[in-house]
Symmetry: C2
Subunit: 88 residues, 2 copies
């Protein structure tokens, strides 16, 4: 089905959790949920960039909803989804 061996999608997803835990919202973030859609294969040697954008703030629950996207070196979206986190 694929041209070459591909990387397990959860490895790509791991990059999202790194962004959430270190950049946005950053340290002290508690991961509550994540939706993942694997849209394109990641091949060995690809360079993947994970980005997160806040789409909703729920201050009364200390919750943040983020749109999360991973793109490869050609700008193709390989993973999209939504994260729900708690930020103290």
């Amino acid at each position: 089905m694929f041209k070459h061996r591909i990387a397990n999608g959860m490895l790509t997803a791991k990059l999202i959790s790194e962004v959430l835990g270190t950049k946005l919202p950053g340290e002290g973030t508690i991961y509550m949920g994540q939706e993942l859609k694997f849209l394109a294969p990641v091949y060995f040697g690809d360079t993947i960039t994970a980005t997160a954008e806040i789409i909703e703030l729920i201050p009364e629950k200390n919750r943040v909803i983020l749109s999360t996207t991973c793109t490869n070196q050609d700008g193709k979206v390989v993973l999209s989804g939504k994260a729900t986190v708690m930020k103290q």
Copy 2:
């Protein structure tokens, strides 16, 4: 917030992808999507068991929907969710 240092939730989620790719549905599985709900913390030293149960088959699209659960050594569910995969 937590008693001790906790493991990144995506490490627990990785166990689900191992089950899907090696057991059910097994080799040749293509990961299309995953919903994850992180329900309880995973502490260093915990033993986590990942299980998958087929909840829907869509033969005309070669799709399989599975309920995915990770429990700790005390039987507590630490992660629940749903996987969508394609099986050739």
